[in-house]
C-alpha cells in the first residue's frame, strides 16, 4: 500500500480541482481514472491508501461496485463523492462503510477533514 491517492471521476475539471486540493494538503495523487475498468487497473497497479470515488461513472458498474471490488483485491480506503442524496444510493454507500461520503458540490473543509482522517 502506497501513501498516495487515486481519484476516480469522469469529469476532467473536477479531477483537476480535486488533485490541486489534495496536493495543497501535502498528499500525492498517484493517478486518476474516468471509468470503472480503469479504476480497478490503476488501483491494482498503484495500491493507493485512499481512493476518491465518484459514485456515478461512465457505463457500468458504478462507483460503489468498483469500490467493493478494489477493497477485496487491494484493500484501499474510499471516500465517496456523489451528486445524489436519494435514499437508495445513500443506503448502498453506507453498507460499504466508507471513510466519508461527500455531496457535490464538495466543500473544501469536509474534503480536507475526510482525507486527513483516511490518510492518518
Amino acid at each position: 500500500m502506497t501513501d498516495c491517492i487515486l481519484i476516480v471521476d469522469d469529469e476532467a475539471l473536477i479531477v483537476e480541482v480535486l488533485s490541486a486540493m489534495i496536493e495543497d494538503m501535502g498528499y500525492a495523487v498517484c493517478a486518476s481514472a474516468a471509468t470503472a475498468n480503469e479504476a480497478v487497473a490503476l488501483a491494482m497497479q498503484h495500491a493507493p491508501r485512499l481512493i476518491l470515488m465518484d459514485v456515478r461513472l461512465k457505463g457500468v458498474p458504478d462507483g460503489i461496485a468498483v469500490a467493493e471490488d478494489i477493497r477485496r483485491t487491494v484493500g484501499s480506503r474510499v471516500i465517496f463523492i456523489t451528486g445524489s442524496r436519494e435514499p437508495d444510493t445513500v443506503e448502498r454507500i453506507k453498507r460499504y462503510a466508507p471513510v466519508a461520503v461527500l455531496f457535490k458540490p464538495v466543500r473544501l473543509d469536509q474534503l480536507q477533514s475526510a482525507v486527513r482522517q483516511a490518510m492518518s
Binding site: G83, S84, P87, P105, L108
Partner: protein
C-alpha cells in the same frame, strides 16, 4: 313464452273432463290463495309504478293500476267469502257479495290488462317528466276511487245486481260475464304474442299471466260451482297468474345483480391496471427528476471547479472575496438540489436540516477563524421556488455578518409566524454598515422582491436583521 302459454292451455283443456268432480270443502283455500295473490300483486303494482318512473309509458301506468286494483279485489274476495276467515259467516257484505267480488275482479283485470296491451301495442306516447307526479297521483286516486265505489256496491247493494249463483251453480249472466272476460283475456294474449312480441319482455310475460288467468276462469266456469276440481285448480292458476310479473321482476333483479357484479369486476380490474400505469408513470417521473437533480449537482461541481481553477491566480482581496461569495452561492444551490432529491415527493423539504447544513457549509468554507454561529429553525416546508432564493438570501446575510472582524456570536433563526408566514433572523453582536451601497445590497433587495419579503434592520447591542417571508401554500 308461446310454448309456456300453449302448455298452460293444454293442461287446462286436459283438466276440463274432471273439472266438475267435487272435492272436500276446504274454506282455507280462499284466504291462502287470496293472501298469496294480494302480496304478489301489490308488490308487482309497486314495482310497476317504480318502473313507470323510468319508462313513463301510459301502458305501464295502466298496468300498475291494474295490479293495484287486482290486489284490492283479492282482499275483498277474502272478506266476503263464507267461512274464509270465520266459520259460518262472512266478514263484510252479504252472501251475494261473494260472487260479485269475484266477478268484478276477473272482469276488471281482463279489461284493464287488455287496455294496457292496446296502449303498448299501438301507442308510443310517453308521460312528460313534468307531468309524472300528476299522472301517478291521478291514476292511483282514480283507481282507489273506482275500487271504493265498486266495493260499496258489492258490499252494500249486491241484491240490486243480477243473480250470479243459484244454489251452488253459476247462472247464465255469470257465465256471460265470465266468458266475456275470458274472451278479452284471449284477445289480449293474441295482441301480446302477435303484435308486441319481443319488443317489450314485460308485456310478453304479461301474456303468460293473462293465459293463466284465462285458464283459471275457464276451468272454474267448467267446474260449475265451489269446491269442485275446476274451482280449486282455478284458484291455483290465479295464484300463478298473480306471481308471473313478480317473477319477471325477480329475474330482472338477478340479471341486474349479475351485470353489477360484472361491472364491478371490470371496474376493479381497470382500477388495478390504471393504478399500475400511474405508479409506473410516477416512478418514471421520479427517475427523470433524480437524473435532473443529479446532473444539476454535477454541473454545479464543474462550475465550482472552474471557478476554483480560474481564481487560483487572483491576488486582489476584493476579487478573492467575490469568488468566495460565488462559491458560497454554488454550495447553497447544491444544497437545495440535494434536499429536493432526498425528499419523498421530490418537490418539498423541511427547512430545519437545510438551514443547519447551509450555515455549516458557509462557516466551514471560511476556515477556522470565524465567529460562533448558532442555528435554530422551525419545521417550515420549502418548495423549489422558495428554497433557492431563500438559500441565497440566507447566504448573503450570513456571509455579511461573518465578514465583520468584530463579530463573535452570530445567531440564525427561522421561526413560523402564522399559517403562511415565517421570520428569518440573522443577528450578530457587532454593529456597523452591512449592506448600503454594496453589491450585496442589490442581491438582497432582488431576492426580497422575489420572495415577497420585508426586511428590518435593528442596531442596538449589535445588529439584528429580520426578514418576514410569505411561505407559499404549496410549500
Amino acid at each position: 313464452m308461446v310454448i309456456l302459454c300453449c302448455a298452460f292451455v293444454l293442461i287446462s283443456v286436459i283438466s276440463i273432463p274432471f273439472a266438475s268432480v267435487r272435492l272436500p270443502e276446504i274454506p282455507a283455500i280462499i284466504p291462502l290463495s287470496s293472501s298469496g295473490i294480494l302480496v304478489a300483486e301489490f308488490a308487482t303494482s309497486f314495482l310497476l309504478f317504480a318502473w313507470f318512473h323510468e319508462v313513463r309509458s301510459w301502458s305501464l301506468l295502466v298496468l300498475a293500476c291494474t295490479y293495484l286494483f287486482a290486489s284490492s279485489m283479492a282482499v275483498l274476495q277474502v272478506l266476503t267469502f263464507p267461512d274464509a276467515v270465520m266459520v259460518g259467516r262472512i266478514i263484510v257484505g252479504m252472501r251475494l257479495s261473494t260472487g260479485w267480488a269475484y266477478m268484478v275482479w276477473i272482469s276488471g283485470y281482463a279489461l284493464l290488462t287488455f287496455a294496457a296491451l292496446l296502449l303498448e301495442a299501438f301507442s308510443r306516447r310517453r308521460v312528460s317528466a313534468r307531468a309524472f307526479n300528476h299522472a301517478v297521483i291521478g291514476s292511483i286516486s282514480a283507481t282507489v276511487a273506482i275500487i271504493a265505489g265498486l266495493a260499496w256496491i258489492i258490499l252494500c247493494v249486491p241484491d240490486r245486481l243480477p243473480i250470479l249463483m243459484r244454489g251452488s251453480e253459476w247462472t247464465g249472466f255469470d257465465q256471460f260475464v265470465a266468458y266475456g272476460a275470458l274472451s278479452t283475456l284471449a284477445a289480449g294474449v293474441a295482441i301480446g304474442l302477435l303484435v308486441i312480441r319481443a319488443r317489450n319482455p314485460l308485456f310478453l310475460w304479461l301474456t303468460l299471466a293473462m293465459t293463466a288467468m284465462a285458464c283459471a276462469n275457464l276451468i272454474n266456469e267448467v267446474g260449475g260451482g265451489r269446491y269442485t276440481l275446476g274451482w280449486t285448480v282455478g284458484r291455483l292458476s290465479w295464484a300463478v297468474s298473480a306471481s308471473v310479473l313478480f317473477l319477471f321482476f325477480l329475474g330482472q333483479f338477478v340479471r341486474q345483480q349479475k351485470l353489477l357484479t360484472q361491472a364491478r369486476d371490470t371496474l376493479e380490474q381497470r382500477v388495478v391496471q390504471r393504478t399500475a400505469e400511474l405508479t409506473a408513470t410516477v416512478s418514471q417521473r421520479d427517475v427523470l427528476l433524480r437524473e435532473v437533480y443529479h446532473r444539476v449537482n454535477g454541473n454545479l461541481q464543474v462550475l465550482d471547479a472552474l471557478i476554483a481553477l480560474q481564481s487560483g491566480s487572483i491576488t486582489d482581496t476584493d476579487a478573492r472575496a467575490a469568488v468566495a461569495a460565488l462559491h458560497h452561492h454554488i454550495l447553497a444551490l447544491g444544497l437545495v438540489q440535494q434536499h429536493l432529491m432526498a425528499s419523498d415527493d421530490k418537490r418539498t423539504f423541511l427547512a430545519t436540516d437545510f438551514l443547519r447544513e447551509l450555515t455549516d457549509s458557509i462557516v466551514g468554507a471560511r476556515g477556522s477563524a470565524v465567529a460562533d454561529v448558532s442555528v435554530c429553525a422551525d419545521a417550515v416546508m420549502f418548495d423549489t421556488d422558495f428554497a433557492v432564493p431563500f438559500g441565497l438570501l440566507t447566504t448573503e446575510l450570513l456571509t455579511g455578518m461573518l465578514s465583520r472582524q468584530d463579530a463573535n456570536n452570530i445567531n440564525v433563526e427561522l421561526r413560523r409566524a402564522g399559517v403562511q408566514c415565517a421570520v428569518l433572523t440573522v443577528a450578530a453582536d457587532s454593529a456597523g454598515q452591512l449592506l448600503e451601497g454594496s453589491p450585496r445590497a442589490r442581491i438582497v433587495s432582488a431576492l426580497l422582491r422575489q420572495l415577497g419579503g420585508k426586511m428590518t434592520v435593528a442596531e442596538r447591542n449589535g445588529t439584528r436583521i429580520e426578514v418576514r417571508l410569505s411561505v407559499p401554500e404549496s410549500a
